[in-house]
């Protein structure tokens, strides 16, 4: 790769100073004159018809300014339901049969909004919630995704519990290639197993809040969103006003981790309360509400059947899966993993299923960590049965071509796997005989691998330059924590050929920034970064043609880039993870001793921030593998472990050192060859940890999280 002047050099962020001094303004730090405080009353029932709501006592309280319920607020929250994995659109809104309102009747999960109050302070708003009398008619409910598919299951929607697609079709997702039955018949051995993954939550540090403020018919919304442009589109559509009437501001955001590239019901509720009261309204959710009222990763049940030949070559894979979507289909409910293998015969059937749990949504690699856990636990178990080294098995079976005659733009998966095995000293740490350490303390090693989308797509950028030689990059990114603003800054400086000190960035405000794809799907560096490259090139051309501007004049380059890969090419990031664990078989404790993540994320724009993305993803993966679970009480249908204490989110003391190796390539696409990174660290981590535990104790742990009780049940 050619060397660059700014890109590729560890650079402290453009805005860390604001973060370490407390000056960065997050949504809840916004305080407007005359601002009211809002709180939401949530259903204690997982499924109930609201017979009546009496808000008179609440409204009579001094200091209470407005109460909204489904009686007086009929706003449909478009992005809250039938998105089916694609960005919600006007067309979908028109055709969908299953609308999700800001306030629904019946309520379909415990934690669903029933009413909202605006009052002069948060204490009065909270007390007013207690004065709202709701008469519920409880309805039968179902929590588990497999149970919900049984014929006698309570029906959550008239169309049934198999979630509709955005075309109103109730069909499982799936693919069919070759003939799996023939493949199994020809296989030397066929293995079958079941795996399940738990309901885990983003739990970003910043609890959801929104500040809405109307000036005439113009709405300003401060909200933690990773996609100000999409959030604006959604708000305008849901409120039935023009996009030019909505301004969305999200400059600092306390973590994203998925499902925030749109508007939220909290945004709509704040806006409606502000409209009704004629005053700015700040809506604050508690941590518990953030767990039970927002969204988590869809829990899954996965049934695999895998046929292999004697030499370990996979002949066929069959997967039947169930994803618990909650009662609204906010996202796809897909399961990734099968595509990792080059297999002629594949049949998958994945059911996105309505349940009466909190809604599921995209969370850092939406369909990946849970699908990878099932698929790569399954193949690891096949290896154990064949007495084959998993590294050899992976090298034999892993994807080398994306299928359908296509090619990867570049391919480093083999290098990731081999480099990782060598640096990690796999041969030394992996137990040929699983569980063979004598005594209670047992060590073992596991590995997993990844091929993760890194496509190109549309984003915009504007760069201006003034007579003083100051360049200002306008990009519609929010800095959710991944460092996008700094990445754009570095890319601009590089392409413009100027020092960073001459470049400034305007971000996080739809009134000052063009469209950006939004920080989801690990796309910002590639897509918005790509637009910045194009804008910089355009500006340089203008300068070459016209010279630098003089006086008060400025030059402006506006780009709406929408690059496409040539036909037959697929762009992918790759990785291999290696982990060693120690299991105390008597006490059921699992400790991660060593972790190595080898990643090809293309060119690394900023090594300083890139490492942190992998660290964070891996540690979240360890948490998902070993701890986190929103446990429900099955009789009341309510969650018991909402919050950091209940979910056992990792602390400083739980975090092992994570070693990261980047294999850098420039495939000629994306800005300087940069690929996706934000989700990549988490995607393979869960499977790697599960495999390491199995190698240590000699028992396959098939249900997440792998908690102490499960370990003791098989070991003690």
């Amino acid at each position: 790769m050619n060397t660059l002047k700014t890109v590729g050099i560890s650079t402290t962020r453009i805005d860390t100073l604001q973060r370490v001094t407390g000056k960065a303004q997050y949504t809840n730090d916004v305080k407007l004159p005359g601002m009211l405080y809002a709180k939401i009353l949530r259903s204690p029932h997982p499924h109930a018809r609201i017979r009546s709501i009496d808000t008179s006592k609440a409204l009579a309280m001094p200091g209470v300014k407005a109460v909204l319920t489904n009686e007086n607020c009929k706003v449909i929250w478009g992005a809250g339901s039938i998105a089916g994995g694609v960005q919600y659109s006007d067309e979908i809104k028109k055709i969908t049969k299953q609308h999700r309102y800001a306030f629904n009747n019946p309520v379909r999960f415990a934690g669903e909004p029933v009413a909202a109050v605006a009052a002069v302070n948060r204490h009065i708003a909270e007390e007013a919630l207690l004065k709202i009398h709701v008469e519920y008619e409880p309805l039968p409910f179902v929590l588990d995704q497999e149970d919900a598919m049984k014929p006698d299951a309570p029906q959550i929607w008239p169309e049934g519990n198999l979630a509709l697609s955005n075309r109103n079709e109730a069909v499982p997702m799936g693919q069919k290639r070759g003939n799996v039955q023939d493949a199994f018949a020809k296989s030397d051995q066929v293995f079958e197993d079941r795996f399940s993954t738990a309901f885990v939550h983003n739990a970003q540090m910043e609890p959801r809040s929104a500040v809405a403020h109307w000036e005439g018919d113009h709405l300003t919304l401060y909200t933690p969103t990773g996609g100000i442009a999409n959030c604006r589109t959604d708000m305008a559509r849901d409120l039935g006003i023009g996009q030019d009437k909505v301004r969305v501001i999200s400059q600092y955001m306390g973590g994203n981790f998925g499902n925030k590239n749109q508007n939220q019901d909290a945004d709509l509720i704040a806006a409606m309360l502000a409209k009704q009261t004629g005053a700015p309204v700040k809506l604050e959710l508690s941590r518990k509400e953030d767990y039970i009222g927002m969204h988590g990763r869809w829990p899954t049940t996965q049934y695999y059947k895998v046929g292999v030949s004697k030499d370990g070559a996979i002949q066929g894979i069959q997967l039947r899966g169930y994803s618990g979507m909650g009662p609204y289909r906010k996202n796809s409910g897909a399961m990734a993993g099968v595509e990792l293998y080059e297999v002629a015969n594949v049949e998958t059937s994945i059911h996105p299923v309505y349940t009466n749990k909190t809604v599921s949504g995209n969370f850092r690699g939406p369909e990946f960590p849970q699908g990878y856990f099932g698929m790569q636990s399954m193949t690891d178990e096949v290896c154990a049965n064949l007495k084959m080294d998993p590294v050899d098995f992976v090298l034999k079976n892993m994807t080398r071509k994306p299928g359908g005659g296509a090619k990867y733009t570049d391919y480093s998966l083999e290098e990731c796997v081999k480099r990782g095995a060598s640096e990690f000293e796999w041969a030394k740490r992996w137990k040929k005989v699983p569980g063979s350490d004598p005594g209670a303390i047992k060590r073992g090693a596991g590995m997993s691998f990844m091929a993760f989308r890194s496509g190109l797509g549309r984003s915009d950028a504007v760069i201006t330059v003034n007579a003083q030689g100051k360049y200002t990059v306008h990009v519609g990114v929010t800095d959710v924590g991944a460092g996008a603003k700094s990445t754009m800054w570095m890319i601009a400086a590089e392409e413009l050929g100027v020092p960073l000190s001459q470049v400034d960035v305007m971000w996080g405000d739809t009134d000052h920034c063009p469209y950006s794809v939004g920080e989801s799907g690990s796309r910002t560096t590639i897509m918005t970064g790509g637009a910045v490259v194009e804008a910089a090139r355009d500006l340089k051309k203008q300068i070459a043609a016209k010279g630098m501007p003089a006086g008060t004049a400025m030059l402006t380059a506006t780009v709406s880039a929408n690059p496409r890969l040539p036909e037959g090419l697929v762009r992918s990031a790759f990785a291999a993870h290696y982990v060693e664990v120690e299991v105390d078989a008597e006490l059921g404790r699992i400790k991660v001793l060593k972790y190595l993540a080898v990643h090809d994320c293309g060119r690394i724009i900023n090594p300083l921030t890139a490492h942190g993305q992998i660290h964070g993803g891996v540690l979240m993966g360890i948490g998902m593998a070993l701890h986190e679970d929103l446990i429900y009480d099955k009789r009341s249908g309510t969650a018991l472990t909402a919050g950091y204490y209940g979910a056992r989110v990792l602390t400083h003391r739980d975090a092992p050192k994570i070693d990261v190796i980047f294999i850098e390539n420039d495939d000629g696409y994306g800005p300087y060859g940069a690929k996706s990174i934000g989700e990549a660290g988490k995607v393979p981590a869960v499977a790697a940890v599960g495999n390491a535990v199995a190698n240590a104790i000699g028992h396959r742990m098939k249900d997440l999280p792998i908690t102490r009780d499960k370990v003791i049940a098989v070991m003690a």
């Binding site: 370490v20 001094p62 204490h123 910043e206 306390g254 924590g481 660290h615 948490g623 400083h652």
Partner: protein, 196 residues
């Protein structure tokens, strides 16, 4: 699959307080009320030294310290992550010791001193910890950062040369969901090294 538990329905907490079905009242915004028309709530005048400045402030008895700091005094650098003493985003130093400002009442700070993230830098000169956090890219989203800083500050005040395990122990009450724990520990260790 389960049926609703009927005994559970009506008794649970105050949500469902009241009786029978009531005809729906007209739902509308009530006319604006001045703050002086609100029912009075217990409040107390306290004296508290905040970032070295002695202040008199009248607080509601039910205000937490972080409410006083954020809403009363505009010191929004201290964040609320859970409001239940589970995450550490609200950590401040009370008489030099890290505490959760969400889990202490403002009135309990009477006569005591509080240091917040805003009190770390001396004018434009950052505290060495702040600089180390920047250099090591310790904050990702930055929402837990003020709390991480205050816990680290208290540690180094008492133990200028901690081991990495001591750093983890001192900061274990500060969750970072971006999970940049490795970097936080490196940053704190680098400061202790600089002082060695």
């Amino acid at each position: 699959m389960a049926d609703p538990v009927s005994s559970f329905d009506v008794s649970r907490r105050e949500f469902l307080e009241g009786t029978g079905a009531v005809a729906l009242a007209a739902v509308a915004a009530v006319p604006a009320l001045g703050a002086d028309e609100l029912p009075s709530v217990p409040h107390t005048a306290i004296q508290v030294t905040i970032n070295g400045v002695k202040q008199k402030i009248d607080v509601e008895d039910r205000w937490t310290m972080v409410e006083m700091l954020r809403d009363g005094l505009g010191l929004t650098g201290t964040k609320i992550g859970c409001d239940r003493g589970e995450c550490g985003a609200c950590t401040v130093l009370l008489d030099g010791k890290p505490v959760y400002s969400c889990s202490n009442l403002a009135v309990w700070a009477d006569g005591r001193s509080i240091q917040t993230v805003e009190g770390l830098a001396k004018g434009d000169k950052l505290d060495p910890l702040q600089q180390a956090f920047i250099d090591h890219d310790a904050p990702q989203c930055g929402f837990c950062t003020a709390g991480q800083l205050m816990s680290a500050k208290a540690l180094l005040n008492n133990n200028p040369h901690p081991t990495a395990d001591e750093v983890r122990a001192a900061m274990t009450g500060n969750i970072c969901r971006c999970s940049n724990y490795n970097r936080y520990v490196e940053a704190v260790m680098s400061v202790s090294g600089a002082r060695a």
